[in-house]
Symmetry: C2
Subunit: 332 residues, 2 copies
DNA sequence: ACTTGACTTGCAACCGGTTGCATGAATAGT
DNA sequence: ACTATTCATGCAACCGGTTGCAAGTCAAGT
């Protein structure tokens, strides 16, 4: 079944309304320039034949298409969706559309997406970019660009500082009376992991609490579950996990072992990607991804308006969200 | 700090290479038409001044911009990311870019996005659309359109038949000895919800089990948790939830109420988006979202090529994944 | 040497709008 | 009545490519 997809153009409307194409254009973009009656007549004619202005053509002559690109390493990672949503909502306020790209954690794919998008958008947000600093600088010279969780000098960036929140977590646990805290580590190569581990180490030392380090290779539910025995054997009464997924795994492992969270073991996660969707609701370090997305979009819009490069550096402090997975240690 | 954002155009390359603009155009789009030496010279000149073809301008004259839109109710819902990723990967094979939109489960927002996208894309995939059948038909007449999990006669659609899996779930529960099963409903307007509800109803009747229907507005963890009291009061010994998130909420609610899953209440989810990441691991109906995304993109690409409307209807069967949240009912 | 056909490249119109400037009409000022 | 303004609209160039057609070149065919 074939269908007729011929879209009505501005010329057809002009002919129907008996005016010049430019008047039709103005009827839509700057109606105050025209006689109200004429506007009405044009709009009526347009409605009659079902005319809808062509965004692409408009973009070609104005140079503004009202689109921005957002590239993340992996849409399926729960860390990103809230960020995406926030950026989208913020963009909406400026009447901008967001084109989303997922790079599968590969620099090559990211580069390709960027090349493809760059002629269709007026600005770009790169989240946890895997590209080289040089390449990023290169792109930033062509098009307004904001980074999230990636630092390249001279490029506008929004950084989430998880160290502060992790330190809060240790303080919180120490305040509850815990004297020995386990850190269930994520990927050793990860910058975030080092940042978090250091924060635990430093703060534990300051509060005089002891610390146990449990290594896990991958930041997954399963890895968290497998770490359970080691955590319970470490003598720690509280555990801080590299991320929420591992914390969730640990909680499942503890339950399987017939122990209870938080009565027997307090558990703290990181990133707050699960919301309160665990039982008991997980105490975690909020990553403020929503603010990151919103701030980045806001920053980008600002850069687009002023057509300038801003060497902005927004640091988002994180904080502890206390829910129900932490409590005073069991009385020995 | 101001920056120079003047993009090199085809004319500049032409001047630099000493050829006509049309030759530059051909060097990029149909190099076999040109003398290889000329192509090389042009490409060199282009690289020299950093020329990148302008997709928008090309789209204007060819009518093909190589973009498709994918609109989902909520990016942050874990059901969608795998689907998005699959669609994106499939689109990539046809050198298409995907523009993602999130409608916040609102028809108005969806309509707005669609209007905005429709002039910049050559095709649209609508996932779990909240729009009226009329509106969908209207859009489909303008632009190739494929639906996922929404049925409108005459429009190409990919349907995940959760009915089959849900029926399996009811059989599974009945087999364990449950005589009264609750269905915790999702959005009333949703096609999937009606499908699941009907499957529960039919299968319960066939197995002679009683059924209780609990209504919730949104498919969220919180909604599931709030439904707990109603479920427990309904006299049901097992509950099938509209989706995994609600099931997770229900499990949390049950635990809060001091009861246990599956000892006091068996819980079944739908969609299998959480993997085994709950405790107890959730028995759920697996949804083949990856296939749905891939198939929809494939179908759309086919429609775009043939410029035809296809009244295709792909049905994807689902199946039950039994984990640990279901067990025989407590002995009364 | 002359025609023919293949191969390269240039010319110019076109895609669907936008916009600076000019024109003409209506209104106001004196 | 006559010029100065303002207002509404048309004209035509332009945004950055694409593409059908024509023109020119060159080598093979006879």
């Amino acid at each position: 079944m074939k269908s007729d997809r011929s879209k009505p153009t501005i010329s057809q409307v002009a002919a129907a309304a008996g005016v010049n194409r430019s008047s039709v254009s103005r009827a839509f973009s700057r109606p105050e320039m025209l006689n109200p009656e004429t506007v009405e007549r044009i709009l009526a004619a347009a409605a009659e034949i079902g005319y809808v202005p062509n965004h692409v053509a408009r973009a070609l002559s104005t140079g503004k298409h009202g689109n921005i690109a957002l590239i993340v390493p992996d849409v399926a990672n729960p860390f990103f969706p809230p960020l995406i949503r926030a950026a989208q909502a913020q963009a909406e306020t400026g009447d901008l559309c967001v084109f989303l790209g997922s790079s599968d954690e590969q620099a090559r794919q990211e580069d390709k997406l960027l090349a493809r998008f760059s002629s269709q958008v007026e600005g770009v947000i790169l989240v946890s970019s895997r590209l080289s600093a040089d390449r990023i600088t290169e792109f930033a010279a062509r098009i307004p660009l904001v980074l999230i969780n990636r630092e390249v000098p001279g490029i506008a960036r929004v950084l989430i500082d998880s160290g502060s929140g992790v330190a809060d977590a240790v303080d919180h646990l120490a305040g509850l009376g815990h004297r020995r805290i386990a850190y269930v580590s994520g990927p050793g190569s990860s910058w975030s992991n080092r940042q978090r581990l250091n924060a635990v180490r430093r703060t534990a030392k300051r509060t005089g609490a002891g610390m146990a380090m449990i290594s896990a290779k991958k930041p997954t539910f399963e890895a968290g579950r497998e770490a359970t025995a080691a955590v319970l054997a470490s003598g720690a009464t509280a555990a801080i996990c590299f991320d929420d997924l591992m914390a969730q795994g640990l909680m499942a492992g503890v339950a399987e072992a017939g122990r209870r969270v938080p009565d027997d073991l307090s558990v703290v996660g990181c990133d707050d990607v699960l919301g309160a969707a665990t039982y008991p609701a997980l105490t975690t370090v909020s990553s403020r991804t929503v603010e990151a997305g919103r701030t980045a979009a806001w920053l980008l819009m600002d850069m687009m308006q002023s057509n300038s490069i801003q060497d902005a550096r927004h640091l988002l402090e994180t904080s502890l969200v206390v829910r129900n997975s932490t409590a005073p240690p069991p009385r020995a």
